[in-house]
């Protein structure tokens, strides 16, 4: 679970998937066939790890995770040689997430589209020297505070934009016998530093400081914390903290609705305390399934606003349980009788159908179209939650899966809500034509001509009730997808904003609410790439990204909101940067003038 979770967390920031088509793949074989699969093609992914000053990095670790779990070899590691090169070979065809790391370095921030790879890809990672924060912790008498856990939280990027809170080094770093601490390998940004308190997950033994709330630099509660700016590779010294002994309060309650099913034997209920807003995990604890009281208590909780949630992880291919999210405010006293009610999570199963244009009817430019390679195509399911309960939390709303040989997708352990598929696929030849809810039994149309068409979930989204297991979703894929690549340019004598969002809006009136036809993308250098587009007429629209919006945070498309969509359409129509895309058309170097 941890690994799956980790992967999901890594995937958060954006949808845009890699657009490069890989070299020739195993031809033919549509995923609909049910015969025995041929032995999987084997291949390799290789590449290089460089530092940002262009030097190759030796002995850097490469981590590979298969995007779809299949058993052996899903997780691999490699290390770079003297020239910074690495090779991961003997890989079965599929889609893989790769990351590179080496002590004291951090991966340069980059969009997600460069994080998934297929066989034959050549990858270059750039690692940046991490920053350091060091200082000394003393008590009121000036004596060293020894073996106290240090926690760093990156609260914003260098420009001061808030980010989804990131903890660094929960309890791995402690003060030494002089009270000195040193935390390294930090991405550039602004941090708050705290000492003491309880780590979110306690590894190993407890510390002597768990009965205190954390003291933040310089000697404050979280509200009074002074932020520390760490530039790329910078060592920030003298972050000395005067330790305070503050006890905080407790939050206690019980968990109800625990599964009685003993096939989940030895399961435990995990209760998590997140800070609100921000979703940073402050503390967690476990309740044994055998504990008749199912009660919990978090102690040493500082004043503040929190969200509590309980869950039971049932294991692979089983339905897990999750509780309601319970908002709690601690202010000068204990909070008691918090009830977290567990209920089974929901799931969506979808089936892919294919609508390939027969070869002889294909236009000339479509002739190269290959069948969709399902094992390398990721389907993203997103919770359409314009105002999520916890606005900085994205891990709960973004899921991915790769289809089985039979073209089946499954998304488990979903909260109730409305879900949408992102239209982005890895293979440029295909697009999602429709998403429909269909009964298994086909109803002959001739006998019942007035039968309403199946609900168009491409417009409405997939509504999921608590505990519901939907199995009626059909995604129809069609080939002949178009793409457009280009660049935003400024008008004469104008500067381009540092961050732009490019919107693609269907121009046909009847497509106004077909959300499969909308796309958007953030860009810093003005370049953009839209692929997997249904043929048709579109408007392109470039807008400035609001200054307070952090990179990589948005999950929902702006166009999903009905009001915003109207605004976008109106603006797009007014600026009228229209483009007509025919099947299989590949528009390159399209120029879009900003402000026009």
């Amino acid at each position: 679970m941890t690994r799956a979770l980790l992967l999901v967390l890594l995937l958060l920031p954006s949808f845009a998937l890699a657009q490069e088509t890989a070299p020739n793949k195993t031809p033919n074989k549509t995923p609909n066939k049910t015969e025995d699969p041929p032995p999987k093609r084997k291949g390799s992914i290789k590449g290089k790890v460089m530092s940002d000053d262009g030097q190759p990095l030796e002995s850097a670790n490469i981590n590979l995770n298969a995007a779809k779990y299949s058993g052996m070899g899903d997780w691999r590691q490699a290390q770079t040689d003297d020239e910074g090169n690495f090779v991961l070979d003997g890989l079965a065809s599929g889609l893989y997430h790769l990351s590179a790391s080496t002590s004291a370095y951090v991966e340069a921030e980059r969009p997600l589209e460069q994080k998934f790879y297929r066989l034959g890809d050549v990858v270059t990672f750039t690692l940046v020297k991490g920053g350091v924060i060091t200082g000394r912790v003393t008590n009121g008498l000036g004596e060293p505070v020894i073996a106290a856990p240090i926690r760093l939280e990156r609260v914003s990027d260098l420009e001061g934009r808030k980010i989804n809170s990131e903890w660094w080094y929960g309890q791995q770093r402690k003060t030494d016998d002089r009270g000195v601490y040193r935390v390294y390998g930090l991405p550039a940004g602004r941090y708050v530093v705290s000492v003491g308190g309880k780590a979110p997950y306690r590894h190993g033994s407890s510390t002597a400081y768990e009965s205190d709330t954390p003291t933040f630099y310089p000697s404050a509660s979280r509200e009074g914390a002074t932020e520390i700016t760490v530039n790329i590779g910078e060592e920030v010294r003298g972050i000395d903290i005067r330790y305070r002994h503050e006890k905080g309060h407790s939050i206690s309650g019980k968990v109800t609705g625990a599964p009685a099913d003993n096939s989940l034997l030895s399961y435990s209920i995990q209760v998590e305390l997140h800070r609100y807003p921000g979703n940073a995990l402050e503390m967690s604890l476990y309740i044994q399934a055998t504990d008749p009281t199912k009660s919990f208590e978090f102690i040493t909780v500082p004043d503040g606003e929190y969200e509590l949630i309980a869950n039971v992880y049932a294991g692979e291919n089983k339905d897990s349980y999750q509780s309601n999210r319970r908002r709690v405010t601690v202010k000068g006293g204990n909070v008691t009788n918090v009830e977290l009610r567990l209920s089974p999570l929901s799931s969506i199963e979808a089936k892919l159908e294919w609508e390939a244009t027969p070869e002889k009817e294909r236009k000339a430019e479509c002739q190269t179209t290959r069948p969709l390679n399902a094992e390398e195509t990721m389907f993203w399911l997103v919770k359409d939650d314009p105002k999520p309960a916890n606005p900085l939390s994205v891990d709960a709303v973004l899921r991915h899966d790769l289809p089985t040989e039979k073209g089946e997708l499954k998304y488990q352990n979903l909260e109730a809500g409305v879900y949408r598929f992102s239209p982005r696929l890895l293979d440029e030849a295909w697009y999602i034509k429709s998403i429909l809810a269909k009964d298994d039994a086909p109803k002959p149309k001739a006998q019942n001509p007035k039968l309403p068409p199946p609900p168009d979930l491409g417009k409405q989204g997939i509504a999921l009730k608590a505990g519901e297991k939907r199995k009626d979703i059909v995604l129809t894929l069609a080939n002949g997808a178009a793409s457009v690549r280009g660049r935003v340019v400024a008008e004469k004598d104008q500067a381009l904003p540092s961050r732009l969002r490019i919107h693609l809006v269907p121009a046909e009136k009847e497509a106004a609410d077909d959300l499969l036809r909308y796309a958007e993308q953030k860009t810093k250098d003005g370049t953009f790439t839209f692929a997997n587009l249904a043929p048709g007429k579109y408007w392109l629209l470039a807008r400035r990204v609001p200054d307070d919006e952090a990179d990589g945070k948005r999950v929902n498309l702006l166009a999903w909101d009905v009001t915003t969509r109207k605004t976008l359409r109106a603006e797009a129509e007014a600026t009228n940067n229209a483009i007509e895309l025919t099947p299989c058309q590949r528009v390159k170097e399209h120029k879009l003038t900003f402000g026009k």
Partner: protein, 556 residues
Amino acid sequence: MTTRYSLLLLFMLLLGLTGQAQSDKPAMGSISGRITVKQQPLPGITVTLEAPAMESSGQPRKAFSAKTDSDGRYRFNGVPKGQYVVSPRAAAYVVPTGGVMIRPGKDVTIGENEQLENIDFELTKGGVITGKITDHTGRPLIQQRVRLQTRGAGNRWQNYFSPNYSMYQTDDRGLFRLYGLPAGQYLVSVGEGRNDGSITFGRPGGYLPLTYYPGTPDEAEAKAIEVTAGGEVTDIDIKVGKPEKTYEARGRIIDATTGTPLIGVQFAYGTVMAGSTPRIGGFGVPGERTNAQGEFVMQSVKPGKYAVFMQADAGSDYYSEPTVFDVLEGDIEGLEVKAYRGASISGIIAVEGTNDPAILQRVKEVRVSAFATAPTTMQAPSFGLPTANPDGTFQLTGLRPGKTRLSASARPPLQFLRMEREGIELPREIELTAGEQMTGVKVVMGYGTGVIRGQLNVVGGTLPPEARFIVLANRVGGTGGTVLGPSGNVQVDTRGKFVVEGVFPGEYELQVVPIGTPGAPAMQRLRIEKQRVTVGLGEVTVTITVNLGEKKEGQQ
């Protein structure tokens, strides 16, 4: 590390007997004492009072925390009865009972409303060793774990553990700082030896060769570092050789009878320890499962002798024979692990001595286990996976044929009494034939209210300060069983007191077992007579005497 961690987790899952929340009744017990250094008070030190062991399971139980005042005194009030460890949390000091325990401190067992005083500690200032670790090119080795050894029993070098795990790691400059060390001689090393019993586990690019300060792979040539109380030894720098290669080992798991591959099963592997019957030492479960062809791969294996086997899931029909292989210089292909459909035992759990539904419904907490006794071949480690259903039925599957010991365990007030089949008590050990499906086994648990209150007296000498004991109350006769404490073991506290609660009427043999003191020669020679006691519905008291004078004071 990953290995060790997943192992730890596994054990905790299996034991699963975490301390239970103490009763809600207001408790008036108190524990107090004094912390000194050279007989002078040590103020401002945190002292914690925690339930013993199992503390890493993530469940924070009511932990008590106090600080010493200007006179070095601390006090915990409102302590419910139970077993605890009192621990001064002074990482820069040496706690006399430390060195080998996760939590250096003193065991205490407190009764209801008891006032426990004079739980005192005399600390000494710890020593410090600092240095720098560099690789073969002279660059700092970052986040590298340093190994520290101290002299133990028989003057042999043994690992020195500190709960202060993070101090063993080098920082981004390759620097380390080990502190809080008792005065004595130490060895500092980095890297791993061949055939040292450890497995590298998913670590790419090889492993660092074992290098002792000042730069030798040989323990005998390592330089002992003399640390005085409160002293600091600097510049213990080590330059490590080039990483040595690790390899991959591939194979598949098949059904031995049909030859078909087993898909989606977990595998595990461990080092093979030499001996008359070779056995599997440290092992790990990579957490990966075999693919559609039943294949598995072990990555980053360093040279050595290994055994790979199937790690059966709960409810699996299979057991496997470990396949032994040697990794020398190169990858290994074509390993085959043979899995066999095992025997099964099923039945129901019953409780004697009560009709209280609240107690009866706790049968689902009972863990029934079966393990092979006196194995003649090397066997894959197996665990009594939790087996009971809410209705009290249980099923054990995938059992290896041969002599098998049946047992069951549960937290008090339930205790294991015996196993029956068709009204006849089963012997302690049964013989399972291949593929046998034994049904109708009744596991009888007892609900006991008896209490054994004991005192361990030491005559003819004094025990070393690190001496700690547990008490096993073994039921006499029949299939037997051991009465567990709320945290698994019944501890003997620092005053020699112990309490076994929830004892079913009958005769018991009390066995006092020293724990966690491998370094003390006096403890190794210690033999304590077993003592019998008959328990009814109430309380019995017992005194067990340890006569140190009967043993010779042997010196190394």
